[in-house]
Symmetry: C2
Subunit: 140 residues, 2 copies
Amino acid sequence: MNAYAYASSDAIACLRQAGIPVTHQRIEIARALFSAPVHLSADQIWAKVLEASPDVSRATVYNTLRLFSEKRMIRELFVDPQRVVYDSTTTPHHHLYNIDTGEVRDISDDELRVIGEPRLPAGLVLDEIDVIVRVRNRAA
Amino acid sequence: MNAYAYASSDAIACLRQAGIPVTHQRIEIARALFSAPVHLSADQIWAKVLEASPDVSRATVYNTLRLFSEKRMIRELFVDPQRVVYDSTTTPHHHLYNIDTGEVRDISDDELRVIGEPRLPAGLVLDEIDVIVRVRNRAA
DNA sequence: TTAAATGCAAAGGTTTTGCAACATC
DNA sequence: GATGTTGCAAAACCTTTGCATTTAA
């Protein structure tokens, strides 16, 4: 047992609901993500997982994060071209990205709202709308 | 001379206005970008440049695109984690990204509007707001 | 002439992949 | 026992960097 607020049993239920076969590694990755709202890179999540369970490989973390994204358990953020950030919150909201520090913060859906319906060309289906507010530290 | 609608003299004027020293390579890269509105990756732009001028290196294209972005002559789009797309249009607008094909299209500013002012934490300055509408081909 | 830009090739970092070993049901 | 998952290491990918050479003003 470790100090996570999110228990293994919760993770197992979550995986089952998503239709993902349960494994020890997937449980630990889910716990690293869902114990609290996080915005982390794959390697940061790997580091967190290793603290609780040293026998999880980097490749498994990368592949599992992709799987979780496909199942809509988490959201991929492309804030920086060289590193994907995973967001453990999937309810609709937007993001504030600090270019100087790399920090990602959530913006609530009612603080910033997207108005209008994009005319989708025929044969296309909406997947999601990403709004990223990029900020810098004062004095660029 | 080649078939570009955007002449070398236009490119030279554009570079001078941005405060960038004029070189043969930068002229060709500007012509590849500004002859028509484009959404292209660095390698795609390199390929276009090579058609007109075979003596431009890949590194110069990458470095020049970063320079142009810093000078706000073009805009960097992070639609996909493994490839930056450069947008030759800098007036405010949003983007439609086809996940299946990789295609990027512009959405006019009045078709989709962002309402609200994000509360910026003290010491932070707004850089820009990116709105990316992600779509798929029907039947995922 | 002199500072700056370029080209080449190598390094850098993140992510994916192939295949044997393993765990789960 | 059968199918799917994992681990390892290597490969793949895009992008940046160091340094000698060349170019532009």
